[in-house]
C-alpha cells in the first residue's frame, strides 16, 4: 500500500473524499446535499479518467489501476439511471461502492503508464472491458438489493422504490445482457489476437462461470418465481462472488497462469 503523490493520486483522493462525504450526508438525512456531493465527486472522477487517458495516450482500460478508475467513474451515472428510470434506490450503497473501488486505485495498484502490447491494440479491447465494468456495477447494486431482501428490510427513503427482490431481478436483467456482450466481444477479440475464440484460460472460465450463475438465476426464478425470495437473493450473491473472483483473484493470485496475466 502506498500513497500516490501525483496529480492523478490527488484526483482519486478527492473523489473518494467526496463519495464518503456524500455517504455521511445521506446517512445524516440530507439526501439532496448527498446527491450533489456524489455528482461532484463523479465529475472529479471524469477529470481523473480523462487525465489518465491524456497521460497514457490510449483508452485507459489496460490494467487493474485503470479499470478501477473507470469503475469509480460509472457509479454515479448508473445510480442516477437506476433511481430515475428503474425506480431502484440504494444510493448510499452506490456512494460506498464508488469509494471502495477507488481505494485500490488510490493506494494499491501500480499506476506506472504502460504502452499497449500488440495483443491489446484492437478496437474490441475498450468496449470488451468497458461493457464488463458497467455490468459489474449493475450486479454489485443487485447484490446490495439481494442483501437488503435477505435482511428483510424495506427500502429506506421517502420515494417509492421497487421492493428489493424485484429490484434485484431488474438490475440483473439490465446487467446480464452487458455481461453476455462482454463475453462475446472478448471471445471475438481472442479469435483475432490469439487464434481461438475460446482459450480455456482461467479468466475466461471464471467469466463463463459468473455468466452461468446468472443464467441459473433466471431459470430458477422462472421455475419458482417469488416464492423463495431468499434463495433468489442467494443466487444473486453467488454471481457477485464469481465476478469478484473473475476480476481480482485471477490477476492478483499467481494461482492461474494464463493469457490474461498481462492485466496485472
Amino acid at each position: 500500500m502506498a500513497v500516490k503523490y501525483t496529480v492523478q493520486g490527488l484526483l482519486i483522493y478527492i473523489t473518494i473524499a467526496a463519495y464518503l462525504l456524500a455517504l455521511a450526508t445521506e446517512l445524516a438525512g440530507r439526501r439532496k446535499t448527498g446527491r450533489v456531493l456524489f455528482a461532484a465527486g463523479s465529475l472529479v472522477a471524469v477529470v481523473s479518467f480523462v487525465y489518465r487517458w491524456y497521460d497514457v495516450r490510449h483508452v485507459p482500460l489496460q490494467n487493474l489501476f485503470e479499470v478501477f478508475l473507470f469503475l469509480g467513474l460509472v457509479c454515479y451515472p448508473i445510480s442516477w439511471f437506476c433511481r430515475r428510470i428503474l425506480r431502484i434506490g440504494g444510493e448510499g450503497a452506490d456512494m460506498f461502492i464508488g469509494a471502495v473501488v477507488l481505494f485500490p486505485a488510490g493506494f494499491v495498484f501500480n499506476a506506472e503508464p504502460m504502452q499497449l502490447p500488440p495483443a491489446l491494440q484492437s478496437w474490441l479491447f475498450a468496449p470488451h472491458v468497458a461493457v464488463y465494468m458497467l455490468a459489474y456495477i449493475f450486479m454489485a447494486k443487485a447484490t446490495f438489493q439481494a442483501a437488503v431482501q435477505l435482511a428483510a428490510r424495506e427500502p429506506i427513503g421517502a420515494e417509492a422504490w421497487l421492493p428489493p427482490e424485484q429490484a434485484t431481478y431488474d438490475l440483473i436483467a439490465i446487467g446480464f445482457p452487458l455481461l453476455t456482450l462482454g463475453l462475446i466481444l472478448g471471445s471475438w477479440w481472442g479469435k483475432l489476437a490469439w487464434g481461438h475464440y475460446w482459450g480455456w484460460d482461467p479468466k475466461e472460465l471464471w467469466s463463463l462461470a459468473s455468466w452461468l450463475v446468472y443464467l441459473g438465476y433466471f431459470h430458477w426464478r422462472y421455475m419458482f418465481g417469488k416464492r423463495r425470495p431468499a434463495l433468489n437473493s442467494l443466487w444473486a450473491i453467488a454471481g457477485m462472488i464469481a465476478i469478484i473472483i473473475t476480476l481480482l483473484w485471477v490477476n492478483l493470485s499467481r494461482l492461474f497462469p494464463g493469457l490474461h496475466s498481462y492485466a496485472t
Binding site: 504502452q115 500488440p118 489476437a193 475460446w198 482459450g199 472460465l205 417469488k226 492461474f256 497462469p257
Partner: protein, 357 residues
C-alpha cells in the same frame, strides 16, 4: 406445470450449474489441461446432452418457439455448441469420414523471408502435412514504441527509467553521479584503429544501443555502451547496472498466397489482423533468425464451425438484449408509468410459473 416439464427444467438448471462448476474446476487446471479436459469423452457426452436438452426444450415448451427473444437465445446457444463441436478435433475427424474433408485443425508453419512454404506441423503430431497452396513470406519486421528507455539499477536495488533520447540526463543522487544519454544507435558498429575507437550507425541490420556517460564528482568522466536486452551484464564492480529496453509495438509478416504459381491473396498480417484463405486463418505467432536469415512462425487454424459460432453469438446477444432490454423499453413507451409502492409487489407475478402453480 406438468411433472414432465418440471423435470426438464430441473435438468436444464442442473446442466447450467454443472457447467459453472466444471468451469471453476477448469480454471484451477490452467488453459492447456482445461482444453484437454473439456474436449475429453465424458465432456463430449455432456455437450451432446446439453444440445439434446435445448432441443427438448423447444418441443416441450411452446413459448421457446413462440417468443422470438427466447427462440433466438436458445437457438443461438445450440448453434454455438454445434459450431464448437464441428471445429473440434473430433469434428474434423468426423468431417473427414463423412465428407472426405481433410483439414488440419491447428498447426504451425515456419517460413524464411523470400521463400514459400506449404508444410504445416499439426499441433498434435510431429509429422508435417501439406496445404493445397503455398504461403510466401515477402518480409518480416518488428516495430517498436519510440523512444525506448534506459533502465538503471543500483546495487542497493533502486531503479530509474530514462527516455532513450540523446541529451536526456538524470541525477541519481550523492555518490552515484549523473547519467547522460550521448547517442542512440539503431545498428551499432565500432571500429578500433590503434588507440582510437570509432562508433557509428551502419545502414541495414539491427543492433540497437545507447552511448551513456556517467559523471561522478572527483572521477574522470567515462562513457559506456548499453545494449538490449542483456540486463545485468557488465562489470561486477559497476555501481550501476544498465540496459536498453524497447517495447515491441507490432510484429508484421508480409504474406502472399501462391496457388499454381500465381498470387491469389496477399496481406500484411499483424497481431489482431490474421489472413483468411482457403478455410484457414493465418496468425502471427512467433519469429526467429538462423543462419539462412529471418523467419516468421505462423499459427494456422482451420475455420470449420466458426460461422456457426459467430452466427450463434449474434442470435444469443440479439435474443438476450431483446428479452431483457427491448421488451422493457417498449413496455415503458407504451404503458403509462405508475409508481409502485415499496410495500406492494411492483408487477404481477413475473413468470408464467407463478400463475401456473
Amino acid at each position: 406445470m406438468s411433472q414432465f416439464k418440471r423435470v426438464v427444467l430441473w435438468a436444464a438448471l442442473i446442466a447450467v450449474v454443472l457447467l459453472a462448476l466444471l468451469s471453476v474446476y477448469g480454471a484451477f487446471l490452467g488453459a492447456e489441461q482445461a482444453r484437454a479436459f473439456f474436449n475429453s469423452l465424458p465432456l463430449a457426452v455432456y455437450w451432446f446432452a446439453l444440445i439434446a436438452l435445448l432441443l427438448a426444450g423447444f418441443i416441450i415448451f411452446r413459448r421457446l418457439l413462440q417468443t422470438p427473444s427466447l427462440l433466438l437465445m436458445h437457438l443461438g446457444s445450440i448453434l454455438v455448441l454445434l459450431g464448437a463441436l464441428w471445429g473440434s478435433n473430433g469434428g474434423h475427424a468426423l468431417a473427414k469420414r463423412l465428407f472426405g474433408l481433410d483439414k488440419i485443425p491447428e498447426g504451425q508453419m515456419g517460413i524464411l523471408e523470400q521463400t514459400q512454404e506449404n508444410r504445416v506441423r499439426p499441433a498434435d503430431s510431429n509429422s508435417t502435412r501439406e496445404l493445397p497452396f503455398f504461403v510466401r513470406l515477402k518480409d518480416f519486421r518488428m516495430e517498436y514504441y519510440e523512444p525506448g528507455f534506459l533502465l538503471i539499477r543500483s546495487r542497493t536495488g533502486q531503479n530509474w527509467r530514462l527516455p532513450a533520447v540523446a541529451g536526456q540526463t538524470l541525477s541519481l543522487g550523492e555518490g552515484l553521479g549523473t547519467v547522460t544519454i550521448q547517442r542512440v544507435f539503431q545498428n551499432f558498429r565500432i571500429d578500433i584503429r590503434g588507440a582510437e575507437r570509432i562508433t557509428y550507425d551502419a545502414p541495414g541490420g539491427s543492433l540497437p544501443a545507447l552511448e551513456v556517460s556517467v559523471e561522478r564528482p572527483g572521477e574522470p568522466p567515462g562513457s559506456r555502451y548499453v545494449f538490449e536486452p542483456t540486463m545485468g551484464h557488465g562489470n561486477p564492480n559497476d555501481r550501476l547496472i544498465m540496459s536498453y529496453s524497447r517495447m515491441v509495438r507490432d510484429y508484421i509478416s508480409e504474406l502472399e498466397i501462391v496457388k499454381n504459381g500465381t498470387v491469389v491473396a496477399a496481406k500484411n498480417i499483424e497481431v489482431n489482423h490474421p489472413l483468411h484463405y482457403g478455410g484457414y486463418h493465418f496468425y502471427q505467432h512467433s519469429y526467429g533468425e538462423d543462419k539462412l536469415g529471418d523467419y516468421t512462425v505462423l499459427m494456422v487454424v482451420s475455420d470449420s464451425g466458426l460461422n456457426l459460432v459467430y452466427g450463434g453469438y449474434a442470435m444469443l446477444a440479439a435474443g438476450i438484449f431483446w428479452h431483457f432490454w427491448g421488451r422493457r423499453a417498449l413496455r415503458r413507451s407504451c404503458v403509462p408509468a405508475r409508481r409502485p409502492l415499496a410495500s406492494e409487489d411492483a408487477r404481477p407475478a413475473k413468470s408464467p410459473a407463478d400463475i401456473l402453480d
